[in-house]
Symmetry: C2
Subunit: 309 residues, 2 copies
């Protein structure tokens, strides 16, 4: 894929997993793009300077965004409003402003009022991540084959959206646009409620005194392991996700507990047919995901068996 | 690792994922071991003959176990009692009888009464599996670095247990012994309840009409994907697991819903501190699992990013 970069200068505000991965991915594709960065923590700024994925790490957000034609807000959702107010006077004319927050309506509500008329605000959300945090966690292929959702409000310049789409495509991801409220509901189902459920299961295991922690850990290959991976996600990010996507999350959790009680009752009453029918139905959804290319059917996810003791 | 095989002739009753993987693993380690097999379905017997991981596939369980010094019951737990009654008269003197069921007390209750005094019954459970079923699903490395739990009752000949342990070690797994009831509780925490929860989450997504099925599937890399993989497990096996490990599973599910309501309430009330503290605590359990060697910390589980569109 040839062609010049859609942006000259990208400013990353927040330098965690997502921002650092964006930097690595952009540099791999378009080494000529200038990348500046800022993070609130001095330690993070210094680590980023050591790693070197920014051309310059500034000591203020205002300095980092000066002259940038794309500004990426990659901080916890709860910090976005204040940040937007701080940088607004320093955004270049015609700059594109985006974010990578996991909830969209709350970001629009917090950031929107501060966006100058000469700036194009295109909120976004890359559906990618690992359990690790911080500038050292980033890598260039994080977004390969992943979805990056955009939720611009009506009236935003389509050319600005296209430039952002081109950048995202250059990082290997696929884009889709949708209304912010719809995004938040879909993510409540596919991500937010599952995360809370995973956190809860790990918490239950943690409390159980009759089952030792070492057993829970040792024998966790049996299904629990997947939950713990989800439950190791960044606590600050997830606190903000649940607080800002509250209604949709509570909706899904309510449905979940209703569903769980039906199955629990079937178990208590020994209704094997009910269980078998239910489990058969859920297998079909799994097949759909493999077909959609969002996972692999290779045994053990294609991992080679580990050889250590 | 040199040394002769701990068994001369292994009979596999049931020819699904676990049995076929055992055959592949045993053959890789000790090609001289005779392996006979039987499955209730003629189609399965024929598929197994095609694949060729048994020296002979018989048309009855009795024929398959004749002369075997190890007999493995690899059928759904609900079928084990009847099977045990059927093969009991045909078991060789001094044969070791084992199973691979995910629940131990129910297997002991169903099978135990049929075991002749000259046969050594050592119930077992390999903590390994994939979402696939059937004879074609098996592969030799399934048990590499996994735990295989044994729950022999008191008085079983230690030499018989050791022979089985040697076979398991030859297939790459680690063994541990415990009391059957304790096994069932530990597995309720690490496997059974998590599976039911995963099934439930997938079921909720399935019902939701405001969110199209394609979106749930498309955007499922965000956490939901892990649930669907768990929820694609064999429906028959899991029906029997829940029906036979009922008390322990209901215990854990009850604790789970109590815990979930606490978090749900924190979300409704905007208690960010509670959420942050809880999520921070669960991260520690994840670290413990990586250290115990039961998973990898490599980004994206060490999977190379997929390149398809």
């Amino acid at each position: 894929m040839s062609g010049e970069a859609p942006f000259r200068h990208v400013a990353l505000i927040g330098l965690g997993l997502i921002a650092s991965s964006m930097a690595h991915a952009i540099r791999a594709r378009w080494p000529e793009v200038r990348i500046t960065g800022y993070a609130r923590s001095e330690a993070t700024r210094n680590q980023t300077r050591e790693i070197g994925f920014c051309d310059a790490v500034m000591d203020s957000a205002a300095e980092a965004v000066a002259g940038a034609d794309l500004v990426v807000l990659a901080v916890p959702i709860g910090a976005m409003g204040e940040l937007a107010a701080e940088i607004a006077p320093h955004l270049a004319p015609d700059a594109v402003l985006t974010d990578v927050g996991s909830v969209k309506q709350a970001v629009i509500d917090a950031v929107g009022p501060h966006v100058p008329t000469h700036v194009h605000f295109v909120p976004g959300h890359p559906l990618a991540g690992t359990e690790h945090s911080g500038p050292r966690a980033g890598f260039a292929s994080l977004f390969q084959n992943r979805w990056w959702l955009l939720t611009p409000e009506e009236g935003v310049d389509p050319a600005a959206i296209e430039r952002l789409q081109a950048l995202i495509a250059g990082m290997g991801a696929k884009t889709d646009q949708m209304e912010a409220g719809h995004h938040d509901l879909v993510l409540a189902v596919t991500s937010h409620a599952p995360h809370l459920i995973a956190y809860t299961m790990v918490g239950v295991a943690d409390h159980l005194s009759r089952v030792t922690e070492s057993e829970v850990i040792q024998y966790s290959a049996a299904g629990f392991r997947d939950f713990t991976r989800i439950a190791a996600s960044d606590p600050t990010m997830w606190r903000d996700v649940f607080l800002t996507n509250r209604e949709a999350t509570l909706d899904i959790l309510g449905r979940f507990t209703e569903e769980l009680f039906v199955l629990q009752r079937a178990i208590r009453m020994g209704d094997g047919k009910h269980l078998h029918d239910y489990f058969t139905r859920t297998r079909a959804i799994r097949r759909g995901i493999i077909e959609a290319g969002q996972d692999t059917a290779a045994p053990d996810f294609g991992r080679a068996a580990k050889q250590d003791g």
